[in-house]
């Protein structure tokens, strides 16, 4: 009477692949945003209307940029 040996099973090749998406903030965003320079008290300004308006718009433009930077920091999870 013969005794058959069991057939060995195939080896286990395991393919594991993992994708990890990490968002790294650039160093410029990690650095704190410096506050805008303070205006001298009781000051006044005299000049051409267009140029004075330009000064005001320059400040608004700077504030807009600061807001964008701040939003970017929030997206990065800094704040």
């Amino acid at each position: 009477m013969s005794r058959a040996k069991p057939l060995p099973r195939a080896a286990d090749p395991v393919v594991m692949r993992s994708v990890e998406t990490r968002r790294e903030c650039p160093a410029e965003l990690l650095a704190d945003v410096s506050p805008a320079p303070a205006r001298p008290e009781k000051g006044w300004l005299e000049g051409e209307a267009e140029t004075l308006l330009w000064v005001g718009r320059l400040k608004n433009w700077g504030e807009d940029l600061a807001a964008r930077l701040s939003a970017a920091r929030t997206e990065c999870g800094v704040n």
């Binding site: 058959a4 057939l7 994708v19 300004l45 051409e48 608004n60």
Partner: protein
């Protein structure tokens, strides 16, 4: 008396007795060989029937000749593997499938996982882009309002000599939106 006895087993009678004895012994050996063969054949037939039954019923294949046992085991594993693949049973695939099938299965699984992750990432990116768009919109509105306020502040300021506008502290506060 002794001589008479010897005379009985002498000559041709001795030869005949020897031949008969030899034939008997040979016959016994032949009979034994035939009997042994028959018994072995009977056992083989029984084993073969048991093996066939085992292959049919999915029973233990130990009784079968090695090549038959291997082939039957392989066939069973193919069926097991198919079922495991269809039902997505990882352990079933690992135990029954061949190495090539396992590799394909693992690769398909990994690819599906990757696709799910990328899809989630895409959904998140879309939501993030939507939020960024609305933030940009509100920032643009705020900037426009500030510019209008600045122009308004300057229009209220007094105009001096040579058409120069004098913007005092209060005017500056409005101009700069403080």
């Amino acid at each position: 008396m002794i001589a008479g006895l010897l005379s009985v087993f002498s000559g041709r009678r001795w030869l005949a007795a020897g031949a008969a004895g030899l034939a008997l012994v040979a016959g016994l050996f032949w009979f034994r060989a035939v009997l042994t063969e028959r018994l072995e054949l009977r056992e083989k037939v029984a084993d073969s029937a048991a093996c066939t039954a085992a292959v049919k019923s999915g029973g233990d294949l130990l009784i079968c000749p090695q090549p038959v046992a291997d082939a039957a085991t392989q066939a069973r594993r193919y069926l097991e593997c198919d079922a495991a693949l269809a039902e997505g049973r990882i352990y079933g695939v690992a135990s029954a499938c061949s190495a090539a099938v396992k590799r394909r299965d693992a690769e398909a699984e990994a690819a599906a996982h990757e696709a799910r992750q990328l899809e989630a990432e895409l959904t998140r990116t879309r939501a993030s882009a939507q939020a960024a768009l609305s933030r940009a919109q509100s920032r643009a509105q705020a900037l426009l309002r500030k510019d209008q306020n600045a122009a308004l502040a300057l229009s209220r300021a007094p105009v001096g000599a040579h058409g120069r506008v004098r913007c005092d502290d209060q005017c500056l506060r409005e101009l700069l939106g403080e």
